[in-house]
Amino acid sequence: MSEKFDVIIVGAGPAGSAAAYSLAKMGFNVLMIERGKYPGAKNVMGGRMYAYALNRLIPEFWKEAPIERKVTREKLTLQGEKASFTLDFMDEELGEPPNSYTILRGKFDQWFAGKAVEAGATLVSSIRVDDLIWENNRITGIVAGTDRIQANVVIAADGAVSLLSEKAGLKKFDVLQFALGIKEIIELPEKTIEERFNLASGEGAAQLFVGHCTKGIPGGGFIYTNKTSLSVGIVVYINSLIEKKIESHELIREFNTDPAVAALIEGGKILEYSAHVIPETSRSELFTDGMLVAGDAGGLIVNNGITLRGIDMAIASGVAAAEAVKKAAQENDFSKQSLSYYEELLKRDFVLQDKETFKKAPEFLQNERLYTLYPEFVCRLFHRLVLVDGPKKRAFDELLEESKGNRIQMFLDMVRGMRSL
């Protein structure tokens, strides 16, 4: 290939496809390069996409996209040693307009990349980009094997382990900044899923687990309901996993046998096992001469403990990257200075606003007490409240009794939590 493109996008995930779709619609000559056999082949996520960003780009996308279920039920399970406490929030209004959908990336990413191709972008799969082309300290294209392909601008949408932003000197990898997600797809009949999670047909549940399942490691477990399968998994901070000397793959195996989980997956069949790192606090510079960085590659995710978001941010950043390229092309200036408009757009939009709002959340969420002391406390307290085995105390007295010795710590953590989440 010796053709020159206006834009080369590396990675046909949500960020790449959003950028390619937008740029192709604007009339640019776009090449999207994917190292997998097909878009989505290498991609893993928990299982839920907040609809907002994609709905802005492709209104009512759910009418054509391969979505699994519309999430109208949110559950949070606090796991103690021998008990678990589940909050079960059902809200019809989360369905109209839809707040979030469970999806399977194998199908979803192919559909989204297909939309970009339909709009006029060129997609090549099974190609690994090995390097960047530099001319006069500016990135002017990519190297893939023996091919060198030139472009005015390169968009690195190559995921959490973005080797391109590292090569461009925009990112340094540090184990402290990453979590590891491990997941399995468990097949179950549609009816069984709807019965077990109390769902109307087509509606879905998202359930998070905090406590015993990660053995004191900051992180948590999850179950997302798909049409005829469950996405079941664990996310843990890697440095803490290493410190505790726990084999990562054993965590998910034990998660399956936890009573609160086992009842939900019983009789199911594991169809697939997968894992990927999550750039919890890993950031990359988002622009340089001739290049922009979008999605996970830039570390554009936000986890505030309640909403765990990445794909919506990836899509919004891909769209912003396209806008920035459009402006740069109008001025025929692809310098760092000109492309800094990309960051400005992200600051005006929710992407960098939410990163800023929740910038203290990662530190707060690495507090081990959230995964040991507190889930156990809630379970112990409810144990006291519901048990009848002699004279009963008033609820407030039980609370005082159960929190003895930890009250100041709890109060301080609560204040910190309110400030950061």
């Binding site: 190292r35 997998g36 056999k37 097909y38 989505g40 082949a41 290498k42 991609n43 893993v44 996520m45 399977l104 990336r105 194998g106 990413d109 799969s125 099974s126 190609i127 690994r128 893939a144 094997g145 959490a160 382990v161 080797l163 990898f173 540090d174 184990v175 990453f178 590891l180 491990i182 399995e184 797809i185 468990i186 399968s229 890697i238 996993l241 290493i242 000397k245 726990i246 084999e247 990562s248 793959h249 195996r253 399956n256 046998t257 086992a262 997956i265 199911g268 594991i270 169809l271 697939e272 096992y273 997968s274 894992a275 990927h276 790192v277």
Partner: protein, 91 residues
């Protein structure tokens, strides 16, 4: 559901590449006290055999952890060549 990691990997689809995409200079591993690779790798590609670390990149699910989690920094991480390696059907 309580199946081993070997059985789990048997459920994953791979296009096997003869070329190793991750290269580990195991000569330095004997000096490593932590041997964290035995814990972090979700597909158990690092094993201890007769006191020595051995790494096999076939069966790697490309999660990326070893890129930065090896305390000795002896992992030379790259992705498999285009089209090779894991391909998720569900993801």
């Amino acid at each position: 559901m309580n199946i081993s990691i070997e059985e789990r990997l048997g459920l994953v689809s791979f296009e096997v590449d003869k070329e190793r995409h991750i290269k580990v200079d195991t000569s330095l591993c004997s000096e490593c006290d932590e041997k964290t690779c035995l814990y972090f790798c979700p597909s158990k590609r690092f094993v201890l055999e007769n006191g020595k670390i051995k790494h096999d990149s076939e069966g790697c699910i490309e999660c990326g952890t070893c890129k930065f989690a090896c305390p000795k920094g002896v992992v030379d991480f790259n992705y498999p060549r285009g089209g090779y390696g894991v391909y998720y059907k569900y993801g």
